[in-house]
Amino acid sequence: MSTVKKAAVKRGSLGERIVRAIRRDKWLFLIMLLPTAYYLLFCYYPMYGVVLAFKNFKPKLGIIGSPWASQNGMKYINMIIRDQYFWRVFFNTIILNLLNLAITFPAPIILALLLNEVGSKWYKKSVQTITYLPHFLSAVVIVGMLNDLFNSTGLVNTLITSMGGDKIPFLTSAKWFRPLYIGSNLWQGVGWDSIIFLAALSSLDMELYEAARIDGAGRWKQTLHITLPGILPTIVIMLILAMGRIMSVSFQKIWLMMNGGNQQVADVISTYVYQRGIINSDFSYATGVNLFQSLVSLFFVLITNAISKRATETSLW
C-alpha cells in the first residue's frame, strides 16, 4: 500500500508533489502541529536568544530590537574571557564532573556484579527495591538530609566529638564540598544506575558459563573472562554518554549546597549564570557564559560520538 502511494507522489511537478504529499499526510501534520509549536516557541525562539550575548540588551526593545554591543558585538565575550572568576567557575565545573564520574561510574557496575552473584531471589529483589528508591527524592530533600547529618549538631559531628575529635564544619568548608556532593550523588544513584548493567548481565549467554565450568574455570575466572567482556559494550556506551554530559551539573543541588564557605569550589557555570543573569540582571554577560558552556558540551558530544563510532560502531547519529 505504501509503495503505491509513493509511486503516485513521484509523478507531477515539484509543487504538485509537495501539495499531494501534504494532503496525503494531513493527519500527521495535524498531529505534529502542537509539538512543532512547542519546539519553535520554547526551544528555537530561546535558542535565537543566544544573540543576546552579542547585544546590549534593552528590555523595552526586546531581544531582536536591541542594538549590537560594541567591539563588533564581542564586548561581552571579551569581558568573559578576561574574567578570572569565569575561568575558576569553568574549571570547577569540569573538575567536579570528572571526579564525580570517576566515582559514580564504576560503582553501579560493581553493584550489578555483586547482585548477579546473589542466589536468593528475594534478597536480590529487596536490595534492588531499596537502592532504587533514593533516585526519586528531590534535590531539596537530599540536601536537607545532608544538612541534618553533617551540620554542627548532626549525627556525624556528635559521633566525632563522642570519640574525642573536633567538630568538622562539613557544610561550610571548601575542602568538604566535593566529597559531600559526590557522596550524596553516589548514595542517590548507585542502585538506579545499576539497572542497565544488570539487564546487560542477564542477557549473557549461559552456555558460555557451562563451557567454562567444564573447562574447570572458577567463579572468579568466569567473571573475568566471560562476564566482564560480555558487558563491556554496555560499559563503553554508558561511559561515552556520561562524557557527553561532562559540562552539565545538577544546578538544583549545588545551588542549595553553596554558601560563603564553599563557594570557591562549589560555584559552577550554571550557578554563576543564575547569579549574574537572573539575580543581577546582567543578561548579555550571563548568556555569553551559557553559550560558552553549550559550545564546550557540543564539542564533547561530537568528540565522544566520533570515538564511539570508531571503537564500538555505535553512535548517536
Partner: protein, 307 residues
C-alpha cells in the same frame, strides 16, 4: 525485547554446586556488603522520620539516633497549622496538570516520527534532535517566559517543559516497536492517524507510557528551579520551594538558637519542622513507588538503547 533481569528465574544457575570454602566466604561477604548498602540507603530516611517525631531539643543534643526521643506529634501539628496544605495542593495541581500536558504532547510528537511513510519525518526528527544538543540556556528562556506574559502563572511551570525530548524519544522507540501491519490494516479500515494513535498505538504501549508518567510526575513534584525562576506570589509556591525556604532559613535560625543558649522549651525546632516537611513531601512518592516499580526496568532499558 531484552529479557528483564527481575523476571529471570535466577541470573546464573547453581550457586551451590561449585566452589568450596572460598565460595562460601565470598557469598558471606557479598551478602553482608549488600546488607550494609541497604542499611546505608535506608538509615538517612529513617533518621529523618524519627527526627520529625522527636523533641526538638533532644534532636539538637544529638541523642536521636535509633528511635524517637520524647516522641511527640507536636511538629506535625505545627506544620499543618501553617500554609503547607496550600503548597501541597499547588504541587499536586502542577504535577497532575503538567504530567497530563507532557504525556499528550509527547505522544503527539512521537507518533508521526515513527511513521515511515511520513514525507516530513526527517525534517521533524532533525528539529527535535537538535534540541538535545543545543539550547538557548537559562537567560533567554527566562526572557522568553517573561515576554510571553507567563511570569508568576502556572503556565510558566507547565509550557516551557511541555516535552522532555529524552522521554519523547523513549516513547517513540516504544511506538516504533508496534508492527507496521497492524497500523496498515487499520488504515485500510479507514481509520485516520489520530484514531490509530489513540485506539491502537497508545493502548499497546502501556508499560512504557506508565514509566514515562512516573518520570514526568516525579520531575514536576521534585523541581524547585522553575518555581524559583518564575513564581513570585507566595500562594502559588509548590511544596519544594517551601521546603527550600525552610532549609535556607533553618541553618541560620538553628545557629541563632544555639548561640543565645535559649530554647530549653523548644519541642519544635526548625530542624524537626524541616524533617517533618521532608516526610510529608516524600510520602506521595513512597506510596506510588511500589506500584510502578516493576515497570522501571523496561523504561530505563528502552531509554538507554537510543541514548
Amino acid at each position: 525485547m531484552t529479557a528483564l533481569p527481575q523476571k529471570r528465574p535466577s541470573s546464573r544457575p547453581t550457586a551451590i554446586r561449585e566452589g568450596g570454602i572460598a565460595r562460601t566466604l565470598f557469598q558471606a561477604v557479598n551478602y553482608s556488603v549488600l546488607f550494609l548498602l541497604m542499611l546505608v540507603t535506608l538509615y538517612p530516611l529513617y533518621l529523618t522520620v524519627i527526627t520529625s517525631l522527636s523533641n526538638g531539643m533532644d534532636v539538637m543534643r544529638g541523642v536521636v539516633r535509633w528511635r524517637p526521643v520524647n516522641a511527640t506529634l507536636a511538629t506535625y501539628k505545627q506544620i499543618f497549622k501553617g500554609d503547607i496544605m496550600i503548597y501541597m495542593r499547588n504541587s499536586v495541581f502542577y504535577t497532575v496538570a503538567g504530567t497530563l500536558v507532557n504525556m499528550v504532547m509527547s505522544c503527539l510528537c512521537a507518533y508521526p516520527l515513527t511513521r515511515r511513510t511520513f514525507c516530513a519525518r526527517k525534517l521533524f526528527t532533525a528539529m527535535v534532535t537538535v534540541t538535545l544538543f543545543f539550547s538557548g540556556g537559562m537567560v533567554p528562556m527566562y526572557l522568553t517566559v517573561k515576554q510571553f506574559g507567563m511570569m508568576d502563572t502556572i503556565w510558566a511551570l507547565i509550557l516551557p517543559a511541555a516535552i522532555s525530548t529524552y522521554n519523547m524519544i523513549i516513547i517513540r522507540t516504544a511506538f516504533a516497536s508496534i508492527p507496521e501491519s497492524l497500523i496498515e490494516s487499520a488504515q485500510l479500515d479507514g481509520a485516520n492517524d489520530l484514531k490509530i494513535l489513540f485506539s491502537i498505538v497508545i493502548p499497546l504501549s502501556k508499560a512504557t507510557l506508565s514509566t514515562m508518567v512516573l518520570f514526568y510526575a516525579v520531575s514536576h513534584w521534585n523541581s524547585y528551579f522553575d518555581a524559583m525562576m518564575y513564581i513570585r506570589t507566595k500562594s502559588l509556591y509548590p511544596l519544594q520551594i517551601h521546603l527550600r525556604n525552610l532549609l535556607v532559613a533553618g541553618v541560620a535560625n538553628e545557629d541563632l538558637v544555639q548561640a543565645t543558649g535559649t530554647g530549653e522549651a523548644f519541642a519544635v525546632t526548625e530542624r524537626t519542622m524541616r524533617s517533618a516537611t521532608i516526610v510529608v513531601s516524600t510520602l506521595p512518592i513512597l506510596i506510588v513507588y511500589p506500584f510502578v516499580q516493576r515497570y522501571f526496568v523496561t523504561g530505563v532499558m528502552i531509554g538507554s538503547v537510543k541514548g
